[in-house]
Subunit: 407 residues, 2 copies
């Protein structure tokens, strides 16, 4: 049986991590910055060195193809190589470099599968510099018009299209090409479940639905000592009661329902002044679309009622809204079977974070493989996955892709 080379793969992760390396460890390779260009240039060079045909499309996605014995739609894997401002070495990068390690292993063994193997890196997955996140893969599957994506402004000013051109990645290949047979993505879990339970391979069944809303409650600032409860328009209290309700909703709904209020700001934020304004975000996630929709409706109903009770105004803005995605059952089974056959412990779980795979799932059978994140840390310079886990994940990726490509 073909075996990927774990040391070689880990070395490539470390080498890619030198581009945009932060002084204290970790990486800053925000999309379409000079550091991202350096990472892209290095990755493309790796692809070319493997004899792959590299195409850069009009949104800057890079797709490298290792020819099959027949001219069929390729089996693709990939992810992204942009990072958050204080990112690690693994998020995204592992999916791309494990794909190249798969090709390297095939090439070294002189194996050419029936279908081509494609390895992709998608533009601006993180969404840290341009909105929305998963932008490159979203454009690739036709979910966002190219022109609209090119016009997205960076948080630091310039337009995405201009930055693509500036770094030399406004490619000429049409977006959405090639049409692929299937898509696989190896990724670190970015959560604590596998690490805490000592599981080696996460068999990802899908991506949970995500709904983000910003609630802005506007009341009236007043003296905390001289304003009777009944005469207050306490924006902070309306917000915090709504936050507590969101928690209660998640507990009552159970299953995989998550609710997080990660951001709340009170104005003027003084001990003895009733808040005139509270700006709060609520992050709701669930793998069950119906349950998520119900929780979302209940949250907004409560917020509106709470605002009315407190005599404050409420404005709500949707910041993100993605339906749950179910991956292809046959491919998910295939991941699980190969992992078990390799003697790995496995757990079926949904992805809590968004990934390019959820976009690809719109156009082809798709699956993901997770490996553990130590302490669940990600989007963090201390993000870490041990070499043994990286090797196991890449080996499963090799086997499922090869089986799929040879069928």
């Amino acid at each position: 049986m073909l075996q990927i080379n774990t040391e070689r793969l880990v070395a490539s992760l470390l080498e890619l991590g030198t581009h945009g390396a932060l002084p204290g460890g970790g990486v800053n390779r925000l999309a379409l910055t000079d550091a991202d260009r350096a990472g892209r240039d290095w990755t493309v060079a790796q692809m070319r060195a493997l004899g792959m045909q590299v195409e850069i499309d009009a949104i800057g996605n890079g797709i490298a193809t290792y020819a099959g014995s027949e001219d069929l739609p390729p089996v693709m894997c990939g992810s992204h190589i942009d990072t958050v401002r204080t990112g690690g070495l693994y998020d995204g990068n592992l999916g791309v470099l494990a794909g190249l390690e798969v090709v390297r292993t095939l090439k070294d063994a002189g194996v050419r599968p029936r279908r081509p193997i494609a390895v992709a890196f998608f533009t601006n997955e993180e969404g840290s510099r341009f909105q929305p996140d998963m932008l490159g893969s979203l454009v690739y599957v036709g979910g966002l018009p190219l022109a609209e994506a090119l016009a997205a402004p960076a948080v630091d000013g310039p337009l995405l299209g201009d930055e693509l051109a500036r770094i030399g990645y406004a490619g000429s290949a049409p977006v959405g090409q090639p049409v692929v047979d299937s898509y696989f993505e190896l990724h670190i879990e970015q959560g604590p479940v596998l690490d805490q339970q000592g599981i080696q391979i996460g068999v990802v069944e899908g991506v949970q639905g995500i709904y983000w809303t910003r609630l802005v409650f506007t009341g009236k600032s007043n003296h905390a000592g001289t304003t009777p409860m009944a005469l207050r328009a306490d924006a902070g209290m309306a917000a915090m009661r709504t936050a507590a309700f969101a928690h209660q909703l998640a507990e009552q709904t159970g299953g995989r329902q998550l609710a997080t209020v990660g951001s709340l700001e009170l104005v003027p934020n003084l001990v003895n002044v009733i808040a005139a304004q509270a700006r709060m975000t609520v992050d709701l996630r669930n793998t069950d679309a119906a349950a998520l929709a119900q929780v979302r409706a209940q949250l907004h109903a409560f917020a509106a009622q709470c605002a009315q009770e407190h005599g404050v105004q409420l404005e709500a803005e949707t910041l993100a809204d993605f339906d749950p995605v179910a991956f292809d059952p046959a491919l998910v089974d295939s991941v699980e079977q190969h992992a078990r056959a390799a003697g790995c412990s496995t757990l079926r779980l949904p992805s809590g974070a968004g990934h390019d795979a959820q976009m690809l799932a719109r156009v082809c059978p798709t699956a993901m493989i997770f490996v553990p994140s130590i302490d669940g840390l990600s989007h963090n310079v201390r993000e870490y996955t041990p070499p043994a886990d990286i090797g196991r994940g890449a080996q499963i990726l090799l086997q499922v892709m090869l089986e799929r490509a040879n069928r």
Copy 2:
């Protein structure tokens, strides 16, 4: 009947307001700054011009006495002339300058009451530059050792004693002298009740108890999408649930119970990151000491339980703790009777804010008179009380003091 001169009183408020005047209106006369010295110098000059004997005590309180026909303990009135950083013309200043207007009226009419009339301004009532607030009157009544007060550091560095000396107000009079017969304080309400109900004179029955606590919940930062509810240590949620409980407590307790969470800060305060830390203040007030103590105990019990449920650490710090103060029933009745006799509408109410009067109440019969604050605004450059209300308040002050001084 003697009548105070409203125009003259309002003119004096405007003139004192020129010292430390802010460009856009309002006043910044933080305690023991150069602006405070200018306000003190002007006030002392006014006192001397009325032929009053002025003493500055060791904590910088200024006490001016208009001799009575007998050498008895004086009937005192007063307040403070320091302001918050963005204060108005009325808070504190009215109580001092209305006292001088009372003396001016007596002097113009050649009236000398049986007991002396004293007018005091107390050091650092606001507590904006030195802690605690109401410091000068607290030292005056023996509630805080002089040495400790002199060692209080300013928010901008220097010690209170050094600042007193620097501005020439480290006086030689012993603190707590003279022993007074009684104390009256005219003040703007600093709340909306009188203004909203169209009441002219507030008959202040006492000052509510105040309890401030800072609660710091410390949990663990994690990804909002990948961390199951059961594996979270969500500091923000523990804090916000405790805030919601504080509101519920105030509603259930009823009466004059107030609960305010004016300040809450989440770390790192990002939409998709579970908060690692939440720093929150809770401001609880009630005129009923037993009810306040119960609410305080219930709050801390809930916070501790909530922290445990969320797996987060909790630290609590007391920032303020004052028992409710009841004013002298006979003096309170006297204020009400004189106001009604003058044809004023009246309302008995507690003071929601702290005042020097609550310190004086420890050593002599004390009462307060409130006049309306438009829109309840105070500690605000837009603080305003119309001349007619100022005149009514000063007239009642004159009458109750004269009656008390002549008994």
